[in-house]
Symmetry: C2
Subunit: 154 residues, 2 copies
Amino acid sequence: MPIESIPETVFQNLRSKGLRITPQREKILQIFMELPESTHLSAEDLFKMLAGKNENISLATTYRTLKLLSQFGYLRELDFAEGHKHYELNKDKKPHHHIICLNCNKTLEFEDDLVNEVGYRIAAEKGVEIVDIQFKIYAMCPHEKDDESKTHRS
Amino acid sequence: MPIESIPETVFQNLRSKGLRITPQREKILQIFMELPESTHLSAEDLFKMLAGKNENISLATTYRTLKLLSQFGYLRELDFAEGHKHYELNKDKKPHHHIICLNCNKTLEFEDDLVNEVGYRIAAEKGVEIVDIQFKIYAMCPHEKDDESKTHRS
DNA sequence: TTTCGTGCAAACCATTTGCAGCAGC
DNA sequence: GCTGCTGCAAATGGTTTGCACGAAA
C-alpha cells in the first residue's frame, strides 16, 4: 500500500545539502508515493499526470527533479532500451526486476532473492559498492490478444 | 580469439529475407568480428573506427546496419543508461553481464551460470520466450587512480 | 538578502527518415 | 530492371541548459 506522506528525513536530507523544499519537489514525490506498487513513469508520463492534476510544473523542472531524486536514492532510474528512462519509487532495499516484451513493450515484474544474492556476491568479488541491481529479460510474450492492461507501454 | 571471416550462413540468412549483401554491411560485421572478446561499441565509436580505416560509411548507414544486425541476432544491443546504446558481437549462446561504475563509466564483464539459469527459469514460469538476458550491477568502483585503461567510457 | 529553483525557449545529442541516385541480384 | 540500400540533409524525440525572475531559508 502507498505511503501517504513524505517522510521528514527526506526534507532533512535535502536541506542538509543546502537544497530547498519546493512545492514542485513535494508534488512530484507525492505522486510517486501515491502510485500503485512499483509503477514506473517516464518524465513525460509524470509531466502529463501533473498537468492532469492542474499542477503547472514545467517539463524542465520535471526532468531536473527526477534526476535529483534519483541521485538521492529516492527514485530508481530504469531503462528498457526504448529511448527514454522510467522512474519508480525506490522504497525497499530489495530490488525487483523486469521482463520486457520486445513485441508489445509491456513489462512484467518479478522479485528473486537468488538474483539479488548473486549480484551482491559478484559485487563483493569485484570489490565494488552496489548502487542498484537491474536484471532484465528481453522476451516475446504470447500476445494472444493485444490488450493494454498490464503495466506500461512506451 | 576473433573469428576471421563472416560465416556463409549470415549471407544466406540475409538473402533468404530478400536483403542484400553490401560492402557496408560486410565491413561493419567484419569490424565486430575483429574486435577483442566482448568489446562493445556505440554507433559513434563504430563510425569513427570505420572512418579511421578509410571506409566512408555514413552515420545513417551505420545506425541502420547496427539495428539490422541486432534484429538478426548477430549483434547484442546493450544500454548502460548513458544516453546511447552499445553493440557487441553476439557470438555465444551464453550471455555475459556487466558492472557499470556510475563514477567513472567503466564497465566490467562477468559470466555467471546461475544468473542465466534464473533467467531461463523465470521466463519459463512466466511463459515468455527469451530474446536476451541482461544483468547489470550499477556500482561505485574504488577509483584509486582515474585510469582510462579498462573497457570503455561513454 | 542570498542563493537556489523555476519557467521559458533555445540548444543538444543520439537516432531516424525522406528522397534521389546507385547497386545487388 | 526491379527493389533494396546508401548518402545527404533535414527532422525528430528525449533531455539539458542559459538566463532572468521568483521564492526558500
